[in-house]
């Protein structure tokens, strides 16, 4: 468990220090959500929520203009929802399983994008959608790269096997 927390801190510092180099038009990838996703999928809701909250809080401490607490909120929600999928891969139809985790990640990025671009949401839903898709898509790009090394399918029933 301690090892996993250290990995979590490692991911956090990776995000904190190097994310600027990966920034495109002020949109940056969110490695924290990828880590929390896998952590909750493997270790379940309880541990996932605790880690998500504290890592989110650390992320907020590194600097947010306003909405301090937003990252801890969204990561906690993600960890809680992803936790439901812990060990469920074999009990659900694959497409249902994949649709659920995909939807949870969409929800995570929707909350963040909605709060950050609320003006855009009000005035131009199309522009907001584009912004949301880019924010979501950029992280998902990295997420799919991680898939090659550690597929969601394996992560889900890691505890069973």
């Amino acid at each position: 468990m301690i090892k996993k927390i250290y990995i979590g801190l490692g991911v956090f510092f990776f995000q904190f220090i190097l994310v600027d180099f990966l920034s495109i038009k002020m949109i940056r990838p969110d490695f924290l959500v990828i880590y929390i996703f896998y952590f909750s999928l493997i270790n379940g809701r309880y541990k996932g929520i605790i880690l998500a909250f504290f890592i989110g809080l650390l992320s907020d401490f590194t600097g947010v203009g306003s909405y301090f607490g937003l990252t801890s909120l969204t990561l906690s929600i993600t960890a809680y929802l992803i936790g439901f999928l812990n060990g469920k891969y074999e009990r659900l139809l694959p497409y249902v399983f994949h649709s659920i985790w995909f939807s949870i990640l969409i929800l995570h990025f929707f909350i963040i994008s909605y709060v950050q671009f609320q003006t855009l949401f009000e005035s131009s839903f199309f522009d907001f959608s584009l912004k949301f898709i880019f924010t979501f898509g950029y992280t998902m790009m990295f997420f799919f790269v991680v898939q090659f090394f550690f597929p969601v399918k394996e992560a889900s029933h890691a505890e069973i096997s």
Partner: protein
Amino acid sequence: MRNLYLFFLKYKDHFIFLFFFFSSIFLLLQNDNLNIYIIRGKFSDKFSIISSPMAWMRSMSRLELETKFLREKNIQLSLKMESMLNQNEEYKSLLKLLKLKEDSDLELIAANVVNSGSSSNLSSITLDIGKDYGVKVDQPVLVPEGIIGKIIVVGKNSSIVQIINDASFRLSVRILPSGNAGILRYFKDDICEIRELQKNAQISIGDNVVTSGFSQIYPKNLPVGEVIEVLDERGSFQKVAKIRIKSKISSLSHAFIIVSDLDKID
């Protein structure tokens, strides 16, 4: 009692989620709390130490490019200075004639940008100077191209800036030459919109946008951006202008904090 304990134990994941969910909501609602600012300030100090070497490396990698840019700028400025010196003489004589008080200069402190947070959308930057240099909350932050934000959290050796593209950032601005004032807020990318503009305001594309001076934070006439679009909806009582901010917020490495007292400036 035992049953209650077992109930909590059985549903501990839901209870822990509710606890952290409401804790996060509480934190979100306490954004303006002084204690939160103090804690954030202390954390900002610690994190700025960690990110300083990376900021230094980034600054070094841009050095060559910056030197080239500065050389070009130097020549341009030398040429401009000649004409400005003449204009200054003329200005002084006119000022004497009108017996107007000369505007006091802004007192600026230079700072390095050490990090820009770790959230997926950029909304703040951290500067490497804090209370020790006289930085206070609500002091304006700018770059040569114009205003980029204001200080919201001050630590001993670092401070967090709420930048112009934060969702809750507002700035009172004036559009020149017409002089119409409005409230600026972030829209997307490097575009902001100005609301609360009078319906009959004469605004053209390319007009300059400067700070209005109505605010308690920003001195007047600091550059902000340039009008790129004017929206005049039939049913609305106001006009909306979209502007492009001149500063390149996504690649900031240095910024200036205005530490002068606003009353003294005016």
